[in-house]
Structure formats: C-alpha cells, structure tokens
C-alpha cells in the first residue's frame, strides 16, 4: 500500500462523512440497542465459534446452514434498505423459518451427499438450479430447466458436492423474474478435512495457498425496485390460481445494490440483527495485519461489478469453483493473479485471498521510535520512519465516525465530544465497494448500496504468533 492509497482512502471517508454521521448514528446505534448482547461481537469478535484465540478477536467463518440435508421453503416477504425503503421480495427460508434474502448460505464439506427439499408456499411453481453440480431432481412437476415445486408442493434435489469452492444457487423457474425477486443464495463447499473447530484445517481448497484466518462471503446482487412494486401491486389483486404477473423484465435497471442481501451501511450491522429480520447476513470484513482473509465473491444478480478492495491487492485463486492451475497435481494456484478490483460477473464466483500488511507505506504506521521493538507483521523498512504530515489543530479538522483520534495503528486519542466512536481500538478502516460508483447509493442516497468497510485491527501489544 502506498501513502497515496491511504490518502485517497482518507479523502473518500472525508467526503462521505456528513451523510454517514446522520445515517450511521441512527442506524448503527439503533442496531446496537436492539442487539445489545451481540454489540461487542459486532465490533470485536464477529463469530465466537470457534472460540476466540489468544489474539482476542477470534476468527470469522461465513454464516450459514450446514446440512447436508436441507429443507428450504419459498415464501414472500419484505426486505429493508438502509435509506428507509421496503422492498417486496420472494425468497427462501430455512425450513419453517422466516423468509430471508439472500437464501440460506448452504455450507458443506467436499464429498457430502446433499439432499435439498424445496417446499413451496407461493402461488406459482418454483425451483432451484445449482450451476456446477450434477443434480438429480425427484418429485414435484416437470419444468423447463429442472423439476419444480408446484404451488403447495415439494421437490427434492440431490447432488454430491464433489469439488470445493464457492457456488451459487438460484431459481430455475421464470428466472428473469424470480431471481430478481430474491431467489438466490450461495453454496460453499469446503475441502475434505475441513473442521470448523480446528483452525489448522481451515483452507478454501486442498491447496497450500488457500489457507485462511478469516472467511467472508460477498454475494453481490442488485434490484430494480420498480419491478418489485409492480409485482407487489399485482399480488394484492391476486384472487387464486397460478400467479404469473405480466412484467417486462427486459427494462430492468437496478436502483438498489446489495452485499449478502444488505445495502450499506446495513452491511456492517451485526449478523442476525433483529432490525433486519429478513436479511440475517452481514458483510463486515475484520482482520489483523498479515492474516489471510478468504474472499468468496458471488455474482448473484444480472450486472457485473468491479468489487474494489481498497488498501491492497487480492490474489484470485479460483473462478466458478475451479482452481487456476496449470495442472491438477499442482499444490498451489500457480496461475493465480493479483487484482485491486475483483471482477464479479453474473453467475460467476471468485475465490481470492486478501492479505494486508501496510508494507511500503513510507512511514511507521505504529508511530514507533527506531528503538521500539517491531510489531508482528510490521514492515521493517518503515520502522521508526516519521509520520510525514503535521496534523492540523483540532479546530481545523473535521472528524469522521471511523477516526479513532490518531493516524497510528493501535493508538486511540482524545476526540471532540460526540465524534468518532466507531474505532475504539485504533484500527485502520478501508472502504470495500463496487467501483462502478453509481452502485454505492440507496435509491440516490449516498453513501449506500454495494459498500462496506474493511477493519484492520492491531494485534495486542507484544503479540507474536
């Protein structure tokens, strides 16, 4: 990362600030109140299972359901968008649970025999297709792409999750409308030998370069709210029989953009928040310096998105659940490549590893003197180098919520009353977002949409692995 990169990030945060303060003080503090027991988890330890390690932060795995026997139920419902909107959707529920967007993330190990029964409460046929899997469909009624669950009926899909990687699933019935309406989800196949409780087994694939400390899903979708309003309007007039609304989906023009079913800043609200009953999944990557963050990026909608990882490049290891290798006997993704924006195309998945070091910054990001010991992961070339900027006086500065009062990693300092507050540990925060920047709004309210933050948390002082 260069000083320019940091400066750019700083500028973007500054530009966003006034609206962010308004949005986030309301929304995030509201979420903290609603989810008080989880409030600490939201900021410090997103996933306590497996238990937090010696670093005090724990390690993140993607939320989802593990099966491999699944029951999903197709249901209608509404989702919230962060500017206050409410959108009518059709989605999948886990068993008899609430409808959710996206559908439950299905997480299995390689070799699992997956049996998924789809139960349909919607007044028209629905189905699920699993691109990349060899599926046997049983029951239900015949459809164009696969067998379907008719109104009040069920259908069962079976497949063996033979190859690890990230996949998606979505509706195979009138997909131009049903996927838009919300019938999409992610399928994660972890490699053989993966044990959730044993971090030494954590890998994205069988390869040595797919080892990770944290695993995050970025399921990218978008919606045209006009289509949803029309469908809801027609649904209100529904009197029975098969509901097959006349909707022109060729004029689709997205106006909402989502990561894991949420618009920003809801993307950073705690997973399972009661404020978002139909959108249980967050997308808030948190890591320590030099850790590996495994990115599972899914193009779940119909538009491509350049998903920008501010701060450092990510290494693309696999696409569509297949490693980028010169031969299947290679022990790494030897055809992998580095990008600062992951191309996420509709229907495609990308597995990438992101590592943050801050090396090459040109100044000591910890504010060390030359005689201080090196922090774990610190770039020795920058050790003791002075911060190249004289900070203006407090009255000459404006403060964002993410600023902890100090430019140094792991240092917090006094802030004017009622300012800051999102960065209690002196972390570094970078925006991750679609770089097609019209996609980072919520119905024209900026910031929003396909945007979240990466939080780099310092190691505890003196930490060494």
């Amino acid at each position: 990362m260069s000083a320019n990169t940091l400066a750019k990030c700083e500028r973007e945060r500054t530009n966003m600030k006034s609206t962010m303060i308004k949005l986030w003080t309301g929304i995030v503090l509201g979420a903290l109140g609603l989810a008080a027991p989880s409030a600490k988890a939201e900021w410090l330890n997103q996933n306590t299972n497996p238990p937090a390690g010696a670093d005090g932060m724990g390690n993140h795995l993607v939320d989802g359901i593990t099966g491999p026997i699944f029951t999903l139920t197709a249901k209608p419902g509404h989702i919230s968008t962060a500017e206050g909107g409410s959108v009518y959707v059709w989605g999948f529920a886990n068993g008899n649970g609430p409808m959710q967007y996206p559908g439950p993330t299905l997480i299995v190990n390689q070799g699992a025999n997956v049996v998924l029964t789809l139960s349909n409460t919607l007044p028209f046929p629905v189905s699920i297709v699993f691109p990349g899997q060899t599926v046997t469909a049983v029951g239900g009624s015949a459809g164009v792409l696969t067998r379907e669950a008719p109104q009040s009926g069920t259908v069962t899909y079976r497949f063996t999750a033979s190859q690890p990687g990230t996949y998606l699933y979505n509706s195979g019935t009138r997909p131009d409308l049903q996927i838009e309406m919300g019938m999409v989800g992610a399928l994660i196949v972890r490699p053989s030998g993966f044990v959730k409780a044993n971090k030494t087994t954590w890998k994205g694939f069988g390869t040595t370069d797919s080892v990770f400390d944290h695993e995050y899903l970025f399921l990218l979708t978008e919606m045209d709210p006009d289509i949803h309003s029309q469908v809801e309007h027609l649904a209100l007039a529904y009197t029975g029989g098969i509901f097959n609304p006349t909707i022109d989906t060729t004029r689709h023009f997205a106006n909402y953009w989502f990561i894991n079913g949420r618009t920003s800043p809801d993307t950073m609200m705690v997973a399972g928040s009661k404020a978002l009953p139909a959108q249980p999944y967050d997308a808030f990557p948190i890591m320590h310096p030099k850790q590996n963050l495994f990115m599972r990026v899914v193009g779940g909608g119909r538009d491509p998105h350049p998903f920008h990882t501010h701060a450092m490049h990510a290494r693309v290891l696999a696409r569509n659940g297949r490693l980028l290798q010169s031969s299947s006997s290679a022990t790494t993704s030897d055809l992998s490549y580095l990008v600062f924006s992951v191309n996420s195309h509709p229907g495609e998945t990308v597995d990438a590893v992101f590592t943050w070091s801050g090396e090459g910054l040109g100044w000591d990001m910890y504010g060390h003197s030359g005689t201080d010991p090196l922090a774990y992961g610190e770039d020795p070339n920058d050790h003791g180098k002075r911060f190249p900027v004289v900070l203006p006086a407090e009255q000459d500065m404006d403060f964002g919520q993410w600023y902890g009062g100090s430019p140094f990693l792991g240092t917090s300092a006094a802030l004017p009353p009622n300012l800051g507050g999102f960065d209690p540990t002196g972390g570094f925060i970078y925006m991750w977002h679609s770089h097609n920047e019209r996609e980072i709004v919520n119905n024209n309210v900026f910031p929003g949409g396909m945007l979240t933050m990466l939080l780099i948390q310092p190691w505890a002082p003196g930490y060494a692995p």
Binding site: D209, F253, A254, N255, P304, H305, P306, H308, H313, R315, S326, T332, S333, D334, L335, S336, Y337, L338, V339, F340, S341, N343, S434, H435, N436, E437, R438, V441, N443, N444, F446
Partner: protein, 204 residues
C-alpha cells in the same frame, strides 16, 4: 511475446538493456515497448450535470454515460493533437488520444476506466494485442508462470486498469481504430459517429 526478446542486443539475455523501455520489472524483457499512450475511459451523463447546475437533486443511481469518452473527449475530438477549447476560451480537454507509431514498433497502452459508471470494452481490430498486466500487476503466477494473453478486446470495470501492447511487426501501414465494441457508445449524446473511438496511425 518472444518478439520483444528478438529485438534486444544479441547475447544480452533477458536482462533489461539501457536504451530500451519496459513497462514492468518483467525479468525477461517481454514488456519492452517503443511508444506509450495513456488511455482513460471517461464519460459523463449530461442530464446529471444539468440537474446539478439547476440545483436539483442528482440521480446517482440512474447515472448513464450519454457521452462515452476517451481521455475526456468524444470522437472526432479524440484525434485532435491540440487542446480542446471550451466556451470560455479555456483549454478544457488537453489530452489527445491519437496514437501514432512506425511499423514494427510496440505500442504500450496504459488503460484505466475512470468513468466508474459501468464496464466498457475497447477493441483494436487488425493489430495483435497482448495484455501484460491488470490492476498495475504484471500478469504472472506466484511462481512466475506467464499469464499474458492475446486478444482483440479488453473489458474494464469502473476503477480497473490494464496494460497491453500492440505489436505492429506485421501490420500494414495505415489508419486503425480503437473503439468501444458496444457500438451504442459511439455517439456524442444524440450525434452519431462519435464517442469512444480514436485512430491508431501506423506509419511506414
């Protein structure tokens, strides 16, 4: 890609040589080039700008480039060698996109999509094109495997970059075109035959 090596002084191996230009620290001289041109994919939605001038809410989400541009100009302004002058007699768009080379030269194009509204695809029919880098990183695997690829078009999302080399070794002198392969982007709003296009002139 071996064509670059054959141009280096005999017996000098793959090391970079004084007097030659290279795009990256490639270790094998394969990014050697003769001339370089930065091409920025730009564009704007004139409706958005009009709304801003009229102090109306700007519709970020419906942003749609009505003027697809290269280096801030639409064709045929793209090929002007002099700055474009605006209505206030100021130089408003200084960067020409006219690409000129002699037959046999290697042209490095440094492409970036700073439009940030959508994906754009640029194509160059008639001149072999090799992509050597994406997002400012040489296309090499972690153990050095060469991931360069030959193509006739490059697609770039908002904020993304690519570097590619046009090799004119076997190119007949004349005028070639670099343009948006999505032909609806070849317009200056309602005026056809414009937009995201420029000339590549290969001299004998």
């Amino acid at each position: 890609v071996g064509t670059a090596l054959s141009r280096l002084p005999a017996g000098k191996g793959n090391a970079h040589q004084a007097g030659y230009k290279y795009a990256y620290n490639d270790g094998d001289g394969s990014t050697e080039f003769d001339v370089e041109y930065p091409i920025q994919i730009t564009g704007f939605d004139h409706y958005f700008h009009d709304q801003e001038m009229a102090i109306q809410p700007v519709a970020f989400s419906t942003l749609f480039d009505t003027y697809p541009l290269l280096n801030g100009r639409g064709y045929p302004d793209t090929i002007k060698s002099t700055p474009v002058i605006n209505s206030l007699s100021k130089e408003s768009q200084k960067v020409s996109s006219l690409i000129t080379a002699n037959k046999g030269q290697r042209i490095l194009i440094r492409l970036s999509n700073v439009s940030e509204t959508e994906y754009y695809t640029l194509t160059v029919p008639g001149i072999p094109m090799t992509v050597i880098a994406e997002d400012a990183r040489l296309l090499r695997g972690p153990d050095g495997k060469n991931l360069y690829y030959r193509t006739t078009s490059v697609t770039s999302g908002g904020g993304k970059t690519a570097d590619f080399i046009l090799d004119t070794t076997n190119t007949k002198p004349g005028t070639y075109f670099m343009y948006a392969a999505r032909l609806t982007q070849l317009n200056n709003d309602q005026e056809d035959y414009g937009g995201m296009m420029t000339h590549i002139i290969i001299n004998p």
